[in-house]
């Protein structure tokens, strides 16, 4: 697999189709998911901001409602007839009357505190130096309240009630409560001149209720600052005060109402600021940037789930479609490969009525045609070879006949009657076999007899220049074989091996059985062949007459025994040549009739 580059893996139709499908579907899906994810995220954020703005403006309303309520509570005291009389320095009042009025005002303040849990303390400070506190609570002599925020605030607020931030109220003996105060000037109803200040201290009960009821997720919260950036209410008020929690304080005061994105304590936060008109307080909502889009985790999980399922589905669908298309193509390809290898019996069976079906029909027709052509060609070849063989068989070397007859004449003249008889008889036997009706088979014994006759004749001619040996293993003599196998080989050994050698040579013919193989070997010690010629002979690559004889022998053997027959040439210059034919005995019939003679 490593020898392929990655893109080559997509060279098959099926994989490239599957790949394209999946890429297409995944791409479209991914893009649309991303887009919708983005829009959902945007709208989530927008709706979170919208929701939060609603909440803090509701808070602002609640605070205003609360301050108006406190204002009316304050007014009920400051416009009270007794209060006004007491602080107006009415000279006509007796000391006893003053005491009575004072008691009534104190009672009024005390019952006010009893009825409202969110008011911790209240006191009236007259311009005439008179002080009335709830429950007649002692006011500390050493505290200069004119320096406090509530006192200055009321004096400078032009008659309107003033709301402080959160602070420690220190005018009462032995107590230091954290409060938010409302202070208000008292005016004489007749002269409209200022007669004192009332201060009403509120604990956090109501503000807590207003603020902590707000839920902005796990990380979101609301806090309130006064005009100066001091914290009125914060869920982590003590931590903010102790600098253990960083919060935007004066940073907010310098800004208009609006939405700000900030990085605080290493997290993205969205700040929404609104001002409450009656108190001047800034109400700040803080949302965690991550949390605003947090529920998107599930959404994105869903998107991914859908994406994975669709990609898987599209993968299988694409695979099925492409497989349906490409399977017949692959089968066609396989058949074509078979045909290429030479197996013309291959037939493609594709029943699709589409182009591929047509293609396979055409392909089948083509293979049939080729097969017929090849058959015809094969028959023609066979015929041709047969006729060549016949021609060879019929062929009588005229030189051989002339030389033989010439030898017989010379022997007759020399009165060598016996030799003439023997030679003529050998010649006759030789020819009888050659012209034998056309039987192609002969026993090994017959073939050996034939080659013996041939060698006898040649021996007369070459006399001492030629000697020979024929060794026939008796067990093989009854095998049937092709005729005229040995004689052409012996002929070649004489004409190309021994004849050219001045001192003559020896021919050795051996026929024996080696395991399950019949071995026929013709060897000589003639002049031999060089490497190149040996190569030519082995490749049957020759045009010479002698080559024709060998080639004919080999082709006939191959024709009958196919590749099972083995023909081996060995030769060395000045040493000799040997031709060995090996035929598996299982391919050969055995002649059971001992008396049978072919000649």
């Amino acid at each position: 697999m490593s020898k392929y580059k990655w893109y080559q893996r997509f060279e098959s139709i099926q994989s490239s189709m599957t790949f394209s499908f999946v890429v297409l579907i995944a791409g479209v899906l991914g893009l649309s998911s991303l887009l919708s994810f983005y829009f959902v995220q945007q709208s989530n954020r927008e709706s979170a901001v919208f929701y939060t703005k609603e909440i803090i403006s509701q808070m602002s309303h609640n605070i205003e409602y609360y301050t108006r309520e406190m204002e009316s509570v304050t007014r009920s005291i400051t416009t009270n007839y007794d209060t006004l009389r007491y602080f107006n320095d009415d000279e006509h009042m007796t000391e006893l009357q003053r005491e009575l009025i004072r008691d009534r005002v104190v009672n009024q303040l005390s019952s006010l505190l009893d009825s409202r849990k969110d008011i911790t303390s209240a006191a009236l400070f007259g311009s005439n130096g008179q002080v009335i506190s709830y429950n007649d609570k002692p006011i500390r002599s050493y505290t200069d309240f004119t320096r406090s925020d509530w006192y200055k605030g009321a004096s400078e607020n032009g008659g309107r009630p003033y709301i402080t931030g959160s602070y420690v109220q220190n005018i009462y003996e032995d107590q230091y409560p954290w409060v938010v105060s409302m202070s208000s000037m008292m005016y004489d109803s007749f002269s409209k001149s200022s007669i004192g200040i009332m201060v009403l201290d509120m604990n956090y009960a109501t503000i807590n209720e207003i603020c902590s009821g707000v839920s902005l997720g796990d990380q979101g919260y609301v806090y309130i600052l006064d005009r100066d950036g001091a914290v009125v209410w914060h869920p982590k008020q003590q931590l903010v005060h102790s600098n253990l929690y960083k919060e935007l304080l004066t940073e907010i005061i310098g800004r208009e109402d609006g939405i700000y994105e900030e990085e605080v304590n290493g997290a993205d936060k969205v700040y929404i600021v609104e001002t409450s008109d009656s108190t001047g307080w800034r109400i700040v909502a803080v949302m965690d940037g991550k949390e605003m889009v947090q529920n998107l985790d599930q959404l994105s999980a869903l998107f991914i789930l859908i994406a994975v399922i669709s990609i898987l589905t599209s993968f299988f669908i694409a695979r099925t479609i492409s497989a349906t298309l490409s399977r017949p193509i692959r089968r066609l390809k396989k058949s074509m490969l078979e045909v290429q290898k030479g197996n013309l019996d291959e037939e493609v069976r594709i029943d699709n009525r589409n182009e591929i079906g047509d293609l396979s029909h055409t392909f089948n027709a083509m293979t049939n045609e080729i097969k017929e052509l090849l058959d015809a060609n094969f028959k023609a070849q066979r015929l041709k070879r047969k006729s060549e063989f016949k021609a060879l068989q019929a062929q009588i070397n005229p030189h051989f006949l002339y030389n033989t007859l010439d030898s017989i004449i010379w022997m007759s003249l020399a009165n060598k009657k016996d030799e003439v008889v023997e030679m003529t008889s050998a010649l006759a036997k030789l020819f009888r076999l050659s012209i034998n009706k056309g039987d192609e088979l002969i026993t090994i014994q017959g073939e050996v007899d034939h080659v013996t006759n041939y060698l006898k004749i040649q021996k007369y001619r070459y006399e001492s220049k030629l000697s020979y040996d024929i060794h026939l293993e008796p067990s093989v003599k009854n095998y049937w074989t092709q005729k005229l196998i040995l004689q052409p080989l012996v002929e070649n050994a004489i004409y190309h091996g021994i004849k050219l050698k001045a001192e003559g040579g020896h021919i050795n013919v051996m026929i024996f059985e080696d395991e399950d193989t019949l071995v026929m070997r013709v060897s000589d010690n003639g002049i031999g062949m060089d490497e190149q010629r040996l190569g030519d002979v082995r490749a049957l690559n020759t045009s010479s007459k002698s080559g024709v004889g060998t080639k004919n022998v080999i082709e006939r053997l191959k024709l009958v025994y196919g590749d099972k027959v083995d023909i081996e040439f060995e030769s060395k210059l000045e040493v000799g040549t040997s031709v060995t034919i090996r035929i598996p005995t299982e391919l050969m019939e055995v002649d059971s009739d001992e008396t049978h003679k072919n000649y």
Binding site: R9, S15, T18, R140, Y142, T143, S148, Y167, V168, N170, D174, Y176, W178, N203, Y204, N208, A230, V231, Q237, Q238, L239, H241, S242, N243, L244, D297, Q298, A301, I304, L305, V308, I309, I311, L312, F315, F316, R319
Partner: protein, 325 residues
């Protein structure tokens, strides 16, 4: 065919992995809580320690921490604290916050705590050696030094300064005393710095100043080195017109001290930040348990409070414990 099978298998596996990661992330977000035991040194909870405790509780509530408090009977019950530590070690919490009652005798115990694989943060007072992860405390030497510097504002060529201290054996007391004395001697050189130990009894401090006064000893300034010492000495000055000119700077805060400050009997108070100390100690311990790197020494700082600045936003929060409820 085989290849496509392998590919589909891989894709399916991938899908399973991705989905299960998401599932696990959304369903098993909660870690088990950290367990912390806070070992204090006295069952009597002063204003200071109640603020420390509320700081500890505040951070404990913010984070996922399970915590409990144990304590020896009082500051002198060193053996009692050692026994408690042994008992706590056997419970194997993730971490311990320890307010050590003795600088020397607890050094072995802190080593044992660490050996038991429990994280340890010391609070308020240290122990000898280095066997703890971090110490969160006020730098008392510096506080004493700063307190003396504050007193100098009300002095002119002083000869005799009285330091009223609580107990001779307390490391906190010794460090403050050392700081104050060093500052005075650096500034004035030839000066008598007299030290009186009142054993945390205001009456003893009162009596001592009275005695000095009765014998006509000229006192140029007083430093009360803790709350009880300050209150005792200041009460005498408040009640005796003829001694009211003597400036006194005190330590720590209580309602009485604040009132004396408002009456201008006490010129200034050096206050620690107990809430911050408790909160920071718990936070630091939580970080140590999470294997974050923390500073070995954390000084939560001391503030100088005068009548003029006591109602400033940042100071009143520390002087008057904020409690909305």
């Amino acid at each position: 065919m085989k290849r496509t099978k392998i590919i589909s298998l891989i894709v399916a596996l991938l899908a399973v992995v991705v989905l299960s990661t998401f599932a696990v992330r959304s369903f098993f977000k909660v870690d088990p809580p950290k367990t912390v035991t806070v070992i204090l040194k006295s069952e009597k909870v002063s204003e200071f320690w109640s603020e420390v405790i509320s700081g500890i509780e505040r951070f404990g509530a913010e984070e996922n921490i399970e915590y409990d408090f144990v304590s020896s009977i009082d500051e002198n019950d060193v053996n009692g604290q050692i026994e408690i530590i042994q008992e706590v070690i056997s419970r194997k919490p993730d971490g311990i916050i320890l307010a050590a009652s003795d600088y020397y005798k607890l050094a072995d115990m802190t080593a044992k705590i660490l050996d038991a694989d429990i994280e340890l943060v010391l609070i308020d007072s240290g122990v000898r050696g280095n066997d703890f992860d971090s110490i969160v405390a006020t730098d008392n030497y510096k506080a004493g030094y700063d307190g003396a510097l504050q007193l100098m504002r009300y002095l002119e060529a002083p000869k005799h300064i009285v330091l009223v201290n609580h107990v001779q054996s307390s490391l906190t007391a010794i460090e403050r005393e050392q700081g104050a004395r060093d500052a005075l001697i650096e500034e004035y050189g030839d000066i008598t710095v007299e030290i009186f130990y009142c054993n945390d009894d205001p009456a003893a401090a009162y009596d001592y100043i009275e005695r000095l006064h009765r014998y006509g000893v000229e006192i140029d300034g007083i430093i009360g080195l803790n709350e009880r010492s300050t209150v005792g000495a200041a009460r005498f000055l408040d009640e005796h017109e003829e001694a009211s000119h003597i400036p006194i700077v005190g330590f720590d805060s209580s309602v009485e001290e604040i009132q004396l400050l408002e009456k201008e009997v006490v010129k200034a108070l050096v206050i620690q930040q107990p809430f911050s100390m408790g909160y920071t100690a718990m936070k630091t311990l939580s970080e140590v348990i999470e294997h974050s790197k923390v500073a070995k020494n954390i000084d939560t700082g001391a503030l100088i409070i005068t009548k003029d600045n006591m109602y400033d936003q940042e100071n009143q929060v520390i002087l008057f414990p904020f409690n909305r409820e």
